[in-house]
Symmetry: C2
Subunit: 235 residues, 2 copies
DNA sequence: TCAAAAGTGTTCGGACTACACCCATGA
DNA sequence: TCATGGGTGTAGTCCGAACACTTTTGA
């Protein structure tokens, strides 16, 4: 097995940053850590990479373990390789971040880990370097979302413009002008207006939209500039 | 040492993608691989992470081993974790990419590894998944350089606008209008015009510029839009 | 004097910003 | 009828794109 002699081998963990949107707020899914040390403290969902398992597959497995979800949007952020990041033993962690629609999936949340959704501003202290991971993931999400329609991954099949705007508001912790916002997102041609309205959140009701999937795939990598003056929000 | 029981440990490699600019062309530094398998084939410079060494430090060490350089701009790209990526034994590789000024440093290149600079379009076949790594790094570089003044890291202390433009041309494999280009880079306020000219590359001579270091640090993260219609070049 | 590269200015159109009022409805 | 949130339009400005000629100087 060990064909490269005289080299040290390391544990490799996956940690998952799971962003969710419930139609009103951007949230982060955390668990009570089951292992010592720091047992019962809040933590990202994680696990060790297994033999013959790709890191991407490990991330998918770990996400599924917690949420029951497969086929979710998930991207590798980067590896965290500080030798003292886990006080027990050296572990290099590869961090993935996922975007999920809370309402669609909340029933499937396993509670073996006592998971809980937190508003970013109410995030508790996390173990190890997990807070740094979250900060990096949020920055990365803001970066991507300023240019590409990633946030659409967090939405239910049908959603309204006010919901979409609430999502952007949550991600950037900033208000956007609704006239400019709707003009901009509609100008992408990615949204198809539905006949029905969502009447739950207002008396007048807001029209539902769905994503035009084919255009979404085509334009995903285009520079769409969803966020005015991104400088103000990113750093 | 092994405090987390029953978990598999893995080799972790660092691979370095080293971009360089010689005043005319963007190039990539490759080595002849010293180890079997694929001995003597072209490869990225790499090595294994050592105990008690952070992955960032390992990347710095490996870069220095090859180039003699320290304090170079270097960023982690991401981890490559496919279990079959190295046919000998499973190795998870964390890829870093560095930007260096070829002329400033070429004397320091160790030739233990028989390193050679290649134009991107003349890149030979590489071992394992190294070509995928290079593609990903180039994409990442194009992405960053479209928005931030990263490419300035590749330049010598004094450089001319035609050189800078040649660099962008190399990175994007595309021509830019020199009037718009110079207006755009000068409008950032990051460049300070010098009195002297570079007369090596033309009869008339081109004015040298230097970076305004303090403004450079301030504005590094701003969205500067160096590249017109980035959609056209990125994907 | 001529070839080769450097340097510079203008016009046009589209995009972004700021801003305020009317609409539909359920209570 | 009124309070609440949804939806829309415009004017001014700025920025990006396209485009061509003059300058310098060494050979």
């Amino acid at each position: 097995m060990n064909k490269y002699p005289n080299q040290t081998r390391f544990l490799i963990a996956i940690d998952c940053i799971i962003f969710g949107f419930d139609g009103e707020n951007l949230k982060l899914l955390l668990i009570h850590r089951a292992l010592v040390p720091e047992k019962n403290k809040w933590s990202l969902m994680g696990g060790f990479v297994q033999p013959d398992e790709s890191t991407d597959a490990a991330a998918g497995r770990i996400l599924k373990q917690l949420t029951g979800l497969e086929g979710v949007y998930m991207d590798q952020l980067r590896a965290f390789g500080n030798p003292s990041r886990d006080p027990i033993e050296r572990v290099v962690s590869i961090v993935y971040s996922a975007l999920i629609d809370i309402r669609k999936y909340k029933e499937q949340l396993s509670d073996e880990y006592q998971p809980e959704w937190f508003l970013l501003k109410d995030m508790p202290q996390l173990i190890f370097d997990h807070e740094e991971m979250v900060r990096a993931a949020l920055k990365d999400l803001r970066y991507k979302a300023a240019l590409h329609p990633v946030l659409f991954e967090l939405l239910p099949e049908k959603f309204t413009l006010p919901q979409l705007q609430a999502l952007y508001t949550g991600v950037y912790d900033a208000e956007f002008d609704k006239r400019n916002f709707s003009r901009k997102v509609l100008s992408t041609g990615l949204l198809i207006k539905q006949k029905e309205k969502d009447k739950e959140n207002s008396k007048k009701g807001a029209f539902y939209y769905v994503i035009d999937k084919s255009k979404y795939k085509d334009k995903f990598h285009s520079f769409l500039n969803f966020v005015p003056n991104p400088d103000n929000f990113l750093f």
